[in-house]
């Protein structure tokens, strides 16, 4: 397996190294040890559930996740009852009904996450002209996604480094490309109360919400890796058998 990894990586390294470098500009986010990292990692369910809480109570005020439905939360280990309760917390616009009227009703598990703003313009208007991006795919949509989001959330500095002029209405972040980001520091210690008693430090919340977002971007990750192990093991055995048959057939060849 490791050799396979090496060969595959070596083969692709030449090709893809430049693409990775093209991101540039901001300092490289420090690599973190993620439960879902490596080739065989899986999502830490407890962390992802705490991360959902952070998203729900902090991020969701501005950031939509329109690719996710409440029913998807089963993937981080929530029960049907819990999901129904979460969905019901939101009023969802539905309709038109038989009278031609739009109406609001409590959310159902099949509903997509309710977006905080009805459209991009409303989102910009409420956020000083900046658009809070949809977070459904954010981990896949940034180079080194998980490390970057974690670094961004913990990378706010109260003061810009000496010699850097402050920017009106912007916030200094060590890891944001260009450093000046419209989003104010979102996470502060003890902002969220975790039901499992985990201390809600900024670092802990950043880690949890990143785990949640990583799951949201690649909900198929665990199934994909588990299938990959089986497929590759099967192919290795098949390769051995095929090679044996090849040797046998060619051995019979009279030159």
């Amino acid at each position: 397996m490791r050799r396979l990894r090496l060969v595959a990586l070596a083969a692709s390294l030449l090709l893809a190294a430049p693409a990775a470098r093209a991101a540039g500009e901001a300092p490289k986010p420090p690599p973190q040890d993620w439960s879902f990292g490596g080739l065989f990692g899986t999502f830490d369910r407890a962390s992802a559930q705490r991360g959902f809480l952070v998203y729900k109570q902090v991020c969701a005020g501005c950031h939509a996740m329109k690719q996710l439905a409440y029913r998807n939360l089963e993937g981080i280990g929530l029960s049907q009852a819990e999901i129904r309760a979460i969905a019901a917390e939101y009023m969802i616009m539905d309709g038109p009904n038989d009278d031609g009227e739009m109406f609001e009703r409590p959310g159902r598990p099949s509903d997509r996450f309710r977006s905080p703003f009805p459209n991009v313009q409303a989102a910009r208007a409420a956020n000083n002209g900046a658009y809070p991006v949809d977070l459904s795919l954010i981990i896949k949509a940034r180079p080194d996604g998980a490390n970057y989001i974690h670094a961004l959330l913990t990378g706010y500095r109260d003061e810009p480094p000496a010699g850097v002029e402050p920017m009106e209405g912007m916030h200094y972040n060590a890891y944001f490309p260009g450093h000046w980001i419209a989003m104010a520091r979102p996470l502060h210690d003890d902002q969220v109360e975790y039901p499992d008693g985990t201390p809600a430090t900024t670092e802990q919340m950043a880690r949890d919400v990143t785990t949640f977002l990583a799951w949201a971007a690649e909900p198929e990750l665990e199934q994909r890796r588990a299938m990959g192990v089986r497929v590759i093991l099967f192919l290795i055995v098949l390769a051995g058998l095929t090679y044996g048959v090849k040797r046998k057939i060619w051995a019979e060849l009279k030159h």
């Binding site: 595959a8 180079p143 090849k246 060849l253």
Partner: protein, 421 residues
């Protein structure tokens, strides 16, 4: 002349069909008995691998098209729906996405194999030309396929590449509007790209068929680059090469599976998971990795039209390669003087690929120009002149003599114990 085909098949059903529609006979002749040089190395697997890639792409593509919506307002979300809600949609899409990269890796190796062993030389010129046509069709298909998910790189890649046509004097701008079906890359562009992306693979199938027909007229080249002198130099395609190709295929599938299951987005660009936004330009617009060498050539030239001409020229020069290379000796094995130039050519292609991913400034521009210069120098000057100047090594009398060791065994053959030399 009317009458039934004379069939050798014993099975009455097969025989009945064969007498009326001799496809079983044809397959028997062209795929079972087909006399094939007995000294292939594993580089001769890549044609079959490319064929498998094409089939995989068409099959996965048909299933993706069942769930994809070619509309600017829905395309991105429909792809995400495939990833999240369609049963095993993520698997189908990741196979298709990485399959494109695998197809290009395989085809590029296939092409370099042809360049090294002189597979383009007489009498295989048309076989080679059909191969270049396939490459062009593949590039068009891959480019349009990359636009369909309607991410940022889809949109801006489409904008950059279609804009190249504006470099054509006088009619350029009109052509671009015609290609777009409007005044920017928009819904009509996406619609036609989807239509063509579905059409072109079937054209590729057609040209692949011609490629194979041409191959079966001339027969395969081989690592020694000399024609088989008789039955002692060839073996039937089946079972010898069917099993050898099968082994190569399984090894290839392991690499393919590694990407699909463990690094599905490694060869892609993160920006394509951001929905297309005509108002926000990505910091660096880069094409997919398989286009990077050509992108570097495009940007190496300070003049837009010149860049476009050289970029397309880098493919079109391949069409005339059979007449540019003046050496009668096919295999580089017997061309000690040409061999280092070939490997520098390979390096120049890799260098161009690297430069293509870098911002077009500073040292990268210089290196792109060096790479571009060598690329064309190799085809237009080095190969034509070397053929006249060099003294090739003496060619073996026949494939058998070489394989049986009636002379110094070539290094590559000695390194292959499974060949039972």
């Amino acid at each position: 002349m009317v009458g039934l085909h004379k069939s050798d098949f014993k099975n009455p059903v097969v025989r009945w069909i064969d007498e009326r529609l001799p496809i079983p006979s044809l397959l028997q002749k062209e795929y079972a008995q087909f006399p094939t040089p007995k000294n292939f190395n594993y580089f001769w697997n890549f044609g079959a691998l490319a064929m498998v890639c094409l089939v995989v792409m068409i099959v996965t593509g048909i299933f993706l098209a069942m769930h994809y919506t070619p509309h600017t307002a829905h395309a991105f979300d429909s792809v995400e729906r495939i990833m999240r809600d369609v049963n095993y949609g993520w698997l189908i899409r990741y196979i298709h996405m990485n399959g494109a990269s695998m197809f290009f890796i395989v085809v590029y190796i296939h092409i370099f194999r042809g360049l090294y062993y002189g597979s383009y030389k007489a009498p295989r010129e048309l076989l080679w030309i059909l191969g270049v046509v396939i490459l062009l069709l593949m590039m068009a298909t891959a480019f349009m396929g990359y636009v369909l998910p309607w991410g940022q790189m889809s949109f801006w890649g489409a904008t950059v590449i279609t804009n190249l046509f504006s470099a054509i004097p006088v009619v350029g701008d009109d052509i671009v509007v015609w290609l777009w079906g409007g005044f920017s890359v928009d819904n009509p562009t996406l619609n036609r790209f989807f239509s063509l992306h579905y059409l072109l693979p079937f054209l590729i199938v057609g040209v692949v068929f011609l490629h194979v027909v041409a191959l079966h007229i001339t027969g395969s080249n081989n690592p020694l680059g000399i024609e088989p002198k008789g039955p002692q130099d060839t073996i039937p395609f089946h079972p010898y090469y069917t099993i050898k190709d099968s082994f190569g295929l399984v090894v290839f599938l392991i690499v393919f599976a590694f990407f699909v299951f463990f690094a599905p987005n490694y060869l892609g660009h993160p920006d394509n998971y951001i929905e297309a936004n005509p108002l926000v330009t990505p910091a660096h617009i880069v094409p997919e990795w398989y286009f990077l060498p050509f992108y570097a050539i495009l940007r190496a030239v300070p003049d837009k039209l010149g860049g476009v001409v050289l970029m397309f020229g880098s493919i079109f020069v391949l069409f005339v390669l059979p007449w540019l290379d003046t050496s009668p000796v096919r295999s580089m094995k017997f061309r000690p003087l040409a061999r280092p130039f070939f490997w520098v050519f390979v390096l120049s292609c890799l260098l161009l690929g690297y430069c293509g991913a870098m911002p077009p400034e500073g040292i990268w521009v210089v290196l792109s120009r060096v790479g571009t210069a060598y690329y064309f120098l190799y085809f237009l000057v080095i190969l034509p002149v070397l053929g006249k100047l060099e003294r090739p090594l003496p060619l073996p009398v026949s494939i058998s003599e070489r394989v049986l060791g009636g002379g110094p065994v070539p290094a590559a053959a000695a390194a292959k114990p499974m060949e039972k030399a």
